[in-house]
Subunit: 348 residues, 2 copies
Amino acid sequence: MKRRKTLADVAAAAGVSKMTASRALRGDKDVSQANIERVKQAAREIGYYGNQFASSLSSKHTDLIGVVVPSLSNIVFPQVMSGVTDALKGTVLQPVFGVTDYDSETEYETLRNMLSWRPAGLIVTGLDQPPETRQLLKDAGVPVVQIMDIDGHPVDSCVGFSHSEAGHDIATALFETELRRFGYVGGNLDKDLRAAKRKQGFQSALRDHGLAFADIIDESDLVDDAAALSAVDCGRRLTADLLKRTPNLDCIYFSNDDLAFGGLCHCIAAGIDVPGDVALAGFNGLGIIEGFPGKVATSRTARRKIGEQAARVILETLEHSKTKMSKLHILKPEISLGELAAINHKRN
Amino acid sequence: MKRRKTLADVAAAAGVSKMTASRALRGDKDVSQANIERVKQAAREIGYYGNQFASSLSSKHTDLIGVVVPSLSNIVFPQVMSGVTDALKGTVLQPVFGVTDYDSETEYETLRNMLSWRPAGLIVTGLDQPPETRQLLKDAGVPVVQIMDIDGHPVDSCVGFSHSEAGHDIATALFETELRRFGYVGGNLDKDLRAAKRKQGFQSALRDHGLAFADIIDESDLVDDAAALSAVDCGRRLTADLLKRTPNLDCIYFSNDDLAFGGLCHCIAAGIDVPGDVALAGFNGLGIIEGFPGKVATSRTARRKIGEQAARVILETLEHSKTKMSKLHILKPEISLGELAAINHKRN
DNA sequence: ACCGGTACCGATACCGGTTGCGATACCAGT
DNA sequence: ACTGGTATCGCAACCGGTATCGGTACCGGT
């Protein structure tokens, strides 16, 4: 295989020095127009594309933004990534993604690895990193933005919303539509801490009115191997089980929209009127629940916007690192009650 | 901000030379057990985490695998990425993702950019790159795996299946269940070339039986701004419009499951029996259609497996680059007719 | 003719690791 | 005592760029 082209090759081809070639390609000043064109032409002809390693090593500087998310299977995170990508488009910065599988050990390793790339900034999901990981983030010496959550103590900046508040708020809204007997369907709460916070917020709102969940069910209650199931399917089966066990529920709160949607599917198939017989509430405001508009209540989270905003915080911090900028950006989810809103109206 | 720790710091702290420290940390040979521990201890104490730039520049070698996908909004690609990530877990290699937004200009730039990182391998989506991009891939000098499609001429290896065949196959299967009048609901065919191939394959199968689509509708037929709609919502509305325009269809073929699912939602809401009144067929086998098991026929694609296999091809090529290995890996989608299968049985 | 300023260019010294190879120490064999 | 082998170590060169800074050429002003 022939040797890779280097800047020296370009310089030779253009008849200038390495330095002039370097400057010309980077659009640096102190190069004549004639040479700029000569160099660019030469680079194109011999098929030269830089070497980031050499470049970054020499300039002690990169355009990388590390983005760490827990999962790719939940569409929410690709949407966040999309937001980051979009906000960074048009700038020199570019995102590099890492996935942790909701595992804090993997998260630590992923971050260490990213830091070995000396990124210009970091965006990480959640606030609940273990101490060692927090330390890593603190010592990173670059802007760090934690996203999707604000319940806790951010390392640096933070873009998201309060999950416990989100749970509390929708519980309150549902309570106000006269619903009283609530059930809960959850995913893997031990790993998804934010879902746990929502549940806890919901429960706290119920307590405010002297209520509690009438019944609670989650993945671990499925007899066969639930890991193989899609979230929708899982929600469908859990809902079926829950309603069999505790038939007279007014409303079921799901830990997210995928499960809630599964619940809706069950109800439709079983001839249960939603929200007439039983109301359903999920979380996120995903596209799938638009298939039956208004059926499922939900909190519409601004995932894409959170990604965009996080990227923007990094960008601005890098630009004028001196001026203190806001450390906390709240993008509160918007509650959508769907048809329940109308029912509420009728009742009032 | 204090200076970043370098290998020299570690070496000094451990009382050995840079070289010994380097070897100790990489697990290279020619280091005494005592020194290995001394160096690792020192590294941990001062919080050292290598510099990939220096390392890769010097060793002319990286552990990066570039993965280029067209989109993050379609859950299919995150699933492919997941497969790649999983297959690479436990190896030294690690994936780096790039998104093209179905834009070949962006794709070219993304690839150039990735190459400036001198990756050890590349996984790119699709076979239909423009000549300039193909050339880039050919000259990359690293294993290249094109995924998700095999209809065309791969640059190097290729993992996926034939979309035109997939379209042809499901059309044939549907025809055999006595369906005759077919409609088509499509997304943005101009950008999603693989969807276009499926449609073309479907049409070719219809032609084999002297048939053609009775009606075709796509996003551009929506009056308002369709870009703002989710795919599900879009499918719902297009199906409504199509059935109003051409009521007596036996079956509707959708360019993917998201749209098909939207179609199902419309039918359920409108009291149309599926598949009794009209059969629906999508593509991919996504989790969402499991909400109503058996209602929508589909071709279940092995996205995650394709990602895994692509990663494995890269791994193996890198390991024994001498031995020629298979260049074409077909993971054919499996057709699922759902309730149509039973109907077919009854008719026979 | 001389001077200061500006535009442009390139030699040199790194950046922080790794490769290559020679140096050193120590031990067993003869 | 001498030789050859093995285990360990470190010097120096280098990877492919970029920051720095000292030239050189050319200009207008006096």
